[in-house]
């Protein structure tokens, strides 16, 4: 099938078509509209056409945690937020650590998913941090990278071995840098958390973890992606390491770009996250980091929960926020607040994410690339209420809100997937 979308503004940083006003789609790929005959025409009504967003960190909860979310519910939520590809964390129950698990995720995604699903698996067996997983087999089964998630290695020695082994096979690793000694605590060790008498997480936990991990990456030469950095100190360390020539990338979560520790003042458990919200200075440093390219990617770190998981006093609730559903709208909001330009944030969720996920055919609207795109009306608005909510988790500050921008349609492989 073929079609032409006219009256649009293409926003695809780095693409020769950036700024163009029409695009053709033939079968699965973007093509020059002049090459098409008898194509269906879509009037874009002067909306923005953006490459489908790629979210490098999402918890799909399947297998084993279906009471929190399923591949069907969470990929549907992703599409609502303009996300057409997700990289799933291996943090399920059990964790993804065998080729059979990877195939299960891929099969479930094929049966019930609304968008592309790229699995990752654990670097260590059972995620316990003691024995290396069968890395080659996991990559063969379809993983785009290996990670350790929120599970620490049992020692730096085991971590060193895992990184060395991954390097020798050319596998990219995703690291959550944190020093276990300091990692407890449900709030940033700052004024707000202290004042509320919450258990505290020192920013030193991240700095010490990151410094050690950077040394191990430097020593092994492994291709590493640092996920969920939260502090200005981490931005500075990554910047230094990149200047030194280390081949690394990193990401920040949407929540850490949007909120600071101040969000905890009302003890809303939705702001109880695995990585605590830091100071306003940290938030601004993270935004500056995305602006100057130190931070490569923005991720949703989408973590849906059942209602009961958040129905308790703040410290006793489970961690995480359901956020992917408003991804593209939140990027527009950051732009409208004058904090982070839309092109920069889109770049961090499309073309750069495609590089880290090793998907050169995705993340850019250009001729010959796979036709994954979002038609987005920046003048519209989106209501996030019970009627329109897709994620199984309503643990979200978005729930009950209206945000600027509206997804008119999402296409994957040239097929409209918007429900």
């Amino acid at each position: 099938m073929s079609m032409i979308i006219r009256n649009i503004q293409i926003i695809s940083p780095g693409s020769p078509l950036h700024g163009a006003t029409e695009i053709g789609i033939y079968q699965q790929t973007f093509v020059d509209p002049t090459e098409l005959t008898n194509a269906a025409e879509i009037d874009g009504k002067f909306g923005w056409l953006v490459p489908g967003l790629i979210d490098l960190r999402i918890n799909l909860r399947e297998p084993g945690l279906e009471h929190k979310g399923t591949i069907a519910s969470e990929t549907r939520a992703a599409v609502a937020g303009g996300v057409t590809s997700v990289v799933a964390t291996p943090i399920t129950d059990p964790v993804v650590d065998s080729p059979a698990d990877v195939r299960l995720v891929l099969e479930r995604a094929k049966e019930s998913g609304y968008c592309r699903v790229f699995p990752t698996a654990m670097l260590s067996q059972s995620g316990a941090g003691n024995h290396l997983s069968e890395m080659a087999a996991l990559i063969d089964a379809g993983c785009v990278a290996l990670a350790q998630g929120n599970r620490p290695f049992s020692s730096r020695k085991i971590e060193l071995n895992a990184l060395k082994y991954a390097q020798s096979l050319g596998i990219r690793v995703i690291l959550d840098s944190e020093s276990r000694d300091f990692a407890e605590g449900c709030a940033h060790a700052g004024q707000i958390g202290t004042g509320l008498g919450l258990s505290l997480n020192s920013p030193l936990s991240e700095t010490l973890g990151l410094v050690a991990d950077l040394e191990l990456v430097d020593a092994t030469g492994v291709s590493a992606h640092f996920s969920r950095i939260t502090t200005g100190a981490s931005v500075a360390r990554i910047r230094e390491a990149k200047a030194k020539g280390l081949q690394i990338t990193c990401d920040v979560t949407l929540a850490h770009l949007l909120y600071s520790e101040r969000a905890l003042a009302d003890l809303d458990p939705n702001f109880h996250l695995e990585r605590p919200l830091r100071t306003e200075d940290d938030r601004l440093a993270l935004i500056a980091g995305v602006s100057d390219g130190t931070i490569d990617l923005i991720v949703s770190d989408h973590s849906p929960h059942e209602t009961g998981a958040k129905l308790a006093p703040f410290p006793e609730t489970e961690r995480g926020m359901s956020l992917v559903e408003g991804a593209i709208q939140l990027l527009l909001q950051l732009d409208q607040k004058g904090e982070l330009g839309f092109e920069q944030s889109i770049s961090a969720m499309t073309v750069k994410a495609a590089q880290v996920a090793n998907q050169p055919q995705l993340g850019s609207v250009q001729h010959g690339h796979l036709a994954d795109c979002v038609l987005f009306d920046p003048n519209g608005s989106t209501v996030f209420d019970a009627i329109h909510w897709s994620s199984a988790g309503t643990n979200s500050p978005l729930f009950g809100q209206t945000l600027p921008g509206r997804v008119i349609g999402c296409w994957i492989d040239g097929q409209c997937v918007t429900t």
Binding site: S199, A265, L267, P315, E316
Partner: protein
């Protein structure tokens, strides 16, 4: 949404719940202290009971150990003629897997009027106050390291009785401020009352990081910190501070920060010594000070009953006002 400080007041500024002393206006604190003093005078009478809360049900919800706080709340409710039910939750439903939310809904269905809540998680009384039906009042009897507002109020009452208006006083708090809900609530209360000089005396490992922000002056040397103060508040030192490597030993703490007669001479001659209890003799306080003329520790206990009566009476009268 709204934090604990906002949730405890009605839109017209009356006390609906007591969750924290943070942001509690001076006028309300003064009203509570005045009310408590009238109850205190009735305590000297042969008949200690007043019929203010006859027919009302007070439920003590203690999710954490407590002897004296629970006892004083018990006594306070009985003296107001309320029906009192005390639930030691650690040994009841929570151990059967019932969530706090479900426990709450069950108690609500039993038509209680007031919950007195102690919980190890900071913010737990706020969680309850935010979700109970509007005609139930909630009093925080201590939550994690967050707040212990009735203790702060009884401390303010004791200070006012012996030393007058806190707006003219220097107050030093000595010991483990970092883990102390008592200290945090007292600092907020003193600030509301306009106290111009609040000092914290402790080693760096026992000081929280937000004190400067609250206008508290910190001292590591006790002799500097005690200089010319009117009020000395000592805090209880928990054994686990040693096992967590925050301090080397009780002996070293006493040598550096223990309140002895000679140290107390750094304070004003008529300074009072307070302690929320239970005291560790030879750790925070020397025998001669604990039993000396400047200690007002047992008076604090008596005031605690009057303050808890005042808080119960005031929150329940606010709730009653909503229905009339």
């Amino acid at each position: 949404m709204h934090g604990p400080a906002a949730l405890q007041l009605t839109p017209d500024g009356r006390l609906k719940h007591l969750l924290t002393t943070e942001g509690l206006p001076k006028s309300l604190i003064t009203e509570l202290l005045d009310t408590a003093e009238t109850f205190l005078s009735s305590q000297g009478q042969p008949v200690k009971k007043v019929p203010l809360l006859r027919g009302r049900t007070v439920v003590n919800l203690f999710f954490e150990n407590s002897t004296r706080t629970r006892t004083t709340f018990d006594i306070a409710a009985h003296r107001l003629s309320a029906d009192v039910v005390t639930l030691d939750i650690r040994t009841s439903s929570a151990s059967k897997g019932e969530t706090l939310f479900d426990t709450l809904k069950n108690l609500e269905a039993m038509q209680a009027d007031l919950f007195v809540v102690r919980h190890s998680a900071g913010g737990a009384p706020f969680f309850i106050a935010d979700r109970v039906t509007p005609d139930i009042a909630v009093i925080n009897a201590g939550d994690g390291t967050h707040a212990h507002p009735t203790q702060a109020l009884l401390d303010l009452m004791t200070i006012r009785k012996y030393k007058g208006d806190p707006a003219n006083l220097s107050v030093a708090i000595v010991g483990d401020l970092k883990h102390s809900r008592v200290a945090r609530s007292l600092v907020h209360g003193l600030r509301s009352m306009g106290c111009p000089d609040i000092r914290a005396i402790a080693p760096g490992t026992l000081l929280p990081i937000d004190l400067e922000h609250l206008g508290v002056h910190t001292f590591h040397q006790i002799d500097d910190g005690l200089s010319d103060v009117d009020v000395v508040v000592l805090l209880r030192l928990q054994k686990e501070r040693m096992s967590n490597a925050l301090l080397p030993s009780e002996r070293e703490f006493f040598n550096l920060y223990g309140m002895t007669e000679s140290r107390l001479r750094r304070a004003k001659d008529d300074a009072i010594v307070m302690h929320p209890g239970p005291i560790n003799r030879g750790v925070e306080i020397a025998n001669e000070v604990a039993d000396g003329p400047q200690a007002v520790i047992l008076d604090q206990v008596t005031n605690g009953i009057a303050i808890r009566m005042a808080v119960m009476a005031m929150t329940l009268s606010t709730q009653q006002g909503r229905h009339s």
